[in-house]
Symmetry: C4
Subunit: 236 residues, 4 copies
């Protein structure tokens, strides 16, 4: 496949995935962004910064190298690009990153709490708690903010020994969610699920203020029903 064809296909997927965000009511105005990486071709494609979802076109998607340097003349990339780059560098198995300000995930991020696995809806997609990063320091915010946001996500997964393939999302303290996946569509679906389980978890605590997470064996059952070599959900 020529590089031109490959870039066009990446733009098509990234464009479609970005449009899926307002459709799923995960973003308002120009919020949110989706990117895709192709490590072999050395390319990242990402939403342009601050562009309306109503007027945005496929050709507006911005192409960069693996360090986030823009390769084509055109629009400026999403201001969150450096966060995406950090995640791609550390999480080798992912090919797409999504950032939104979806309201229920943001609530937990603002509350500074990880989301406990209260049910099978959670376990089907996230194998354990969805972690929340520590707060960034003043130095981190005032120096290379977006890059440091990526670094603190990676630090969180390393310190808590969480596998980013098994827990494809995170809450950044005081900010909001990032999710990822093998494809832009999967990464967007993980954002949809994350917001849904965030809403469910909040209300679960309202209904029962001493609720406990589901047991490990149920978490195992549901996650591995959908993921890994013994998965039996779906048609494949």
């Amino acid at each position: 496949m020529t590089n031109k064809l490959l870039v066009d296909e990446m733009k098509e997927r990234v464009f479609a995935a970005n449009l899926a965000l307002p459709k799923a009511e995960l973003v308002k105005l120009t919020w949110g962004n989706v990117s895709e990486i192709n490590r072999e071709a050395g390319l990242i494609v990402i939403k342009p910064s601050g562009v309306s979802y109503q007027t945005m076109q496929m050709k507006d998607m911005v192409v960069t190298d693996l360090n986030g340097e823009v390769l084509e003349k055109g629009m400026k990339p999403s201001s969150d690009l450096a966060t995406h780059v950090e995640l791609y560098k550390a999480f080798k198995e992912i090919n797409s990153v999504v950032h939104t300000h979806s309201k229920h995930a943001v609530m937990w991020a603002q509350a500074g709490r990880e989301i406990p696995a209260y049910g099978t809806t959670h376990a089907d997609t996230f194998y354990g708690v969805v972690p929340c990063t520590r707060q960034l320091s003043s130095e981190e915010v005032t120096s290379a903010y977006e890059e440091e946001t990526g670094k603190v996500i990676v630090e969180t997964f390393n310190e808590k020994k969480i596998d980013p393939s098994a827990v494809p999302g995170v809450l950044v303290y005081g900010h909001g969610p990032f999710t990822w996946g093998k494809t832009p569509q999967q990464a967007v679906e993980n954002s949809i699920v994350l917001d849904e389980i965030a809403e469910m978890a909040c209300a679960t605590e309202v209904v029962n203020d001493s609720v406990m997470p589901i047991p490990q064996y149920l978490l195992d059952k549901h996650f591995f029903r959908k993921h890994g070599k013994n998965a039996y959900y779906g048609q494949s």
Copy 2:
């Protein structure tokens, strides 16, 4: 009626009922499933596993025998089929089962609480509390999980002496709701009502933290206004 005609009509109803789930905002992505049984013909028709509601076609509905053994070449049935089979075996008067992860019913399932009958909206459809099962054991989850899910629902109705015709739904602890009915349409409507009363009940407790269920005589009045030989709601 030939078996072919009968199967086609079952597929049509099951297909329509499945599509009603995302339309009523009870499911996201590929979540949820509806089945119908015809005991005399020895047939169950159910949604295929993990298929998108946008691309799913009527012919994709999966036909099985009364034990859930697939009878036609084609797609794999919903992974929750074994739960449906258990419910059909125990609850002789029902012809359709619906499973969703509708958010408000899930909240109560995750909280591990039965939904009290706080009002007539509840009583019109559910004659008393909507029960919540006990938690499944590790052995039950790791052996025949979906079948055991059905068994624990039946156990719940037996132990609490609840008539599944009078309370056409349940919460599975840490998981979510199942509802049933005489037809796929009725079973779906019961899922719609269940989610609505789950949301209402949660907020009712927020507005009044010492709220009590409605008295038995009001529960009787509303349920039997719509159900049984003295019903006078509707046109029939």
Copy 3:
């Protein structure tokens, strides 16, 4: 105007007002009903019982006399007709009644609490608390339930000395809201406002658990800005 023309116009307004309920997301399935009265002509027109909003036609509207006796062959009237009749008998200035199970108004009805006037959104339509009736007794429920529901609403307004023109709605304990107005459209709008202020009031208490109602002078200002001879809101 001939009686035929008058009935047709009543049916048209009642039909349109009933369809406005699902559009405003105040009802699900076949819930809810709107009626209109013409006292001089001795007629009430009301939604038929248990009919789907998708298939309901204008001609299905049921015509009764002022005691709720059906005057035309056709569908059965809403099972709540007797409640409407009681309200028309007691509240001479109203021409339309609406009943819904709109979720936020139901929450307060189930909680058994009147809705305090926490803001100007409330005061623009309801001049003071929206009252909640006492619970009906077993005798009232088992004898003439729907009629007694009307009677307990009237009792509530009498005992609390509330003018039904100034507070065009009520919560029936453990059941849900009724609203009314000069026209079916106005009565529906009052149901829309009632559900909105019910939702706002619940969350207001979450945000501030010692919140107080607005002062009487602000209640006066907003209500009389829209109502009565010194009103100056709108174009008339």
Copy 4:
């Protein structure tokens, strides 16, 4: 540009911005209003009072002078015009004002609380708390209510030393939100953001009842990423 052309363009923007309110689900019925000012031309254009969004036409927009005196024959202006006029007099850098009864902003206004800056979604648009005015006195309400509403907003910004360009919105105690901006579109977007952060802030406190605002350095980073001479969000 002739005065006629200028007025037509103002009407077009004000009309479009008013229609954006129900589309963004910030208003119900005839609630809400948007205006635009042109100080050099001595003109304000505002929504007419109490007109349905479904039937409202561009030509119905009302033209007044800088004191709110109507200049053209036609409809009556929004009853909140005097509030807009006060804001325009005091806040020289704004060209548009929006008033809604959007439910989440109203909840905080009714609770009488300012909205803390709990996250970057807030900080992207509002540089610090969104303040809540004091309660108006009986004298203020009974004399020139709408004008006094404007005055108490200005008083709030003066006393708390808040720059209305940096915090383009306010909650009026017991009433609801006003927002503003350089253009009607921007003022509407600020209303959208205000309602969203109001909802997020309420739930953030539910998830964590001892949550703290984000640190000043993160507030600075996000606000100045989008605003001022060092802004780098967007395409300009």
